[in-house]
Symmetry: C2
Subunit: 338 residues, 2 copies
DNA sequence: GACTGGCACTCTGAGACCGGGAGTGCCAAA
DNA sequence: TTTGGCACTCCCGGTCTCAGAGTGCCAGTC
């Protein structure tokens, strides 16, 4: 395809994103100093439409990019526009103040939504990809203990459980020592194997308690594993109220379903640090009219994902830059806290 | 005021809530076997309008209740309609499965929003009204500890802090003993006084660490105190999209502001177990077009609030019944777990 | 005095109609 | 390959009309 045709496509995408209105040949020829007349642009547009990159809502209207058009724009045309230094500084300052992981996640999700004016979604560091830093047992009553697990990413999970037998103070300490010996420093993905052996290693008197513990640990690691997600900026969806028309409700509903959000963030192109999914590329039906920009984050390896959801007619260069910058900085913070 | 006039008002409220359209004299006379003609109803309506309970969007339209009209309805006319036994059983079953407090709150807020088809808001048990069950110190590194606080309502707060000096294992145990001695079983509202004395009670070598701990404890108790709130069912707002017209965004935004939500739940009529605030009765501007139904909950004394937010044209009897039932059952659960 | 049927009046909302304007496709010429 | 010109299409916003719903008021009845 012609270089100029690509320029025309870029012009259409940029103008449409800016004005929210179909853009005509005349506007393109005038505003984007292509050095050709509107008639020429019309020819190019006819080609682009034929090829499926743009379409007309009706005869005698301007053109609108299709999903395929946005895709081409993102892949080849959009020059990522880096954040302004002021923005960059604000991001750093805001995130640096975070006290602990919860705080980091909460601040991140707010920041992302404000920066992009879209809905932001941040996954807590996946337990599967973390290692155990420490396990603590707190006796609440003789038969009730609280299990606290702290990972290298700073995530803290806590569960309470009822024990089959009363435990003395020393017993608690022994169990604590035992589970820490078995799990400390180990990646949680490998934990299930180790956990099942726990009961056997305990003194006979502690067997039943140890296996109760093991059961809860397994549950925490396996079933609850990735479920935590933070969302912010849902109000931004109303900016595009015309766009989403009647379909606002299903999106709001989907945003409250952790499972759905995990899918949304999860399907990342292996390898790529940043993924953009546009319209029909989303496998979840409710998001067929949206674009999703996600990035992995983590100290070294990826331990979680974050991203934003908006209309396909979004400012891709700006959004991509914001998501990437924030993901990188959060990774740095996790690195430091390790 | 005439008994029949009240009946007319009830009819208008009920029909308007059901149909979302202004209701005329004929409809009232026909559907609500009042035994009088439409003309008579018209006279009553003229009176009700004069008195400010209803109004006409324009001449030649039916009548719509005003905030004042809803208020009268709620105070004197709406017979609370109890939940069906099926619903009641579902509530019990769903909440009984909760594993810990987080789970209770999450389930409660979902339940409320599903039961009422509105946005539900649930405050975590206020720290100010809880007592300390246990405090735990977990050494993460020689100079970093995690402080875990567990209250009688099952709420768990955890914070990490950097210490000014290295601590030996015994030191940690001693500090733990110290803070537990000082705080265990005490209401957190009284805690600040006790906390400031902490440092003085510690051995000289531990003073600096103890005061760092005290500082974090104070922060947790005072500034973070009531800030936790859970929200669900925002998607339900779109049901009333016509009603909220352009004002959907501010409401969505307000729902993400914990401070605002706390105000919304906080201003409860002293004494009353259940509060209904209609339209202008809400002190927060963004909620001037909504109705808010809130109830306190807690084992014995009130430790937190929950409620729903919806359009003033809501099903008050049903909503009130649902909020009350759920609040009661959550209170029971907290009672059991105490 | 309270209620009722009748009637004239008002106002909205939906549909029909219309003209301007934006944008197109195509063609012949450069 | 590009361009200016031109006929054509279709939306959008405005005006107009009309039926329908609902009212207020009045005079008559119980």
């Amino acid at each position: 395809m012609d270089d100029r045709k690509l320029e025309v496509l870029r012009a259409i995408v940029e103008d449409y994103v800016a004005t929210q209105e179909p853009v005509g040949s005349k506007a393109v020829a005038q505003r984007h100093a292509l050095g050709v007349s509107a008639a020429t642009v019309r020819n190019d547009m006819a080609y682009l439409e034929e090829a499926g990159y743009i379409h007309q809502p009706h005869t005698s209207a301007g053109r609108i990019p299709t999903d395929k058009g946005y895709r081409l724009f993102v892949d080849r045309l959009g020059k990522i526009k880096p954040l302004s230094t002021a923005e960059r500084r604000a991001v750093h300052r805001f995130l640096a103040e975070a006290l602990d992981l919860d705080d980091v996640v909460t601040r991140t999700v707010r920041l992302l939504s404000q920066l992009t004016h879209q809905v932001a979604v941040v996954q807590y560091p996946s337990l599967n990809r973390s290692t155990v830093r420490h396990l603590e047992l707190v006796a609440l009553t003789p038969t009730r203990v609280m299990l606290v697990m702290i990972t290298d990413t700073g995530r803290v999970e806590q569960r309470q459980l009822e024990l089959p037998a009363e435990l003395a103070e020393d017993d608690v300490l022994e169990l604590r020592r035992l589970i820490n010996e078995q799990l400390q420093g180990k990646p949680l993905a490998d934990a299930p194997r180790t956990i099942v052996e726990l009961a056997e290693l305990a003194r006979p008197e502690l067997r039943s308690s140890a296996s109760a513990l093991a059961r809860v640990l397994l549950e925490t690691v396996v079933s609850r594993a990735d479920e935590r997600v933070a969302v912010a900026g849902a109000a931004n969806l109303t900016r595009h109220t015309a766009y989403f028309a009647g379909s606002l409700r299903p999106i709001l509903e989907a945003l409250e379903e952790e499972v759905v959000l995990m899918q949304l963030l999860g399907h990342t192109d292996s390898g790529a640090m940043l993924t953009v999914r546009i319209g029909d590329e989303n496998e979840i039906d409710d998001f067929r009219e949206t674009a999703v920009v996600t990035a992995g984050y983590g100290p070294g390896a990826v331990v979680g994902h974050m991203g934003v959801v908006g209309p396909t007619r979004m400012d891709y260069p700006g959004t991509i830059a914001a998501v990437r910058a924030v993901a990188r900085y959060v990774s740095e913070i996790l690195e430091q806290n390790r």
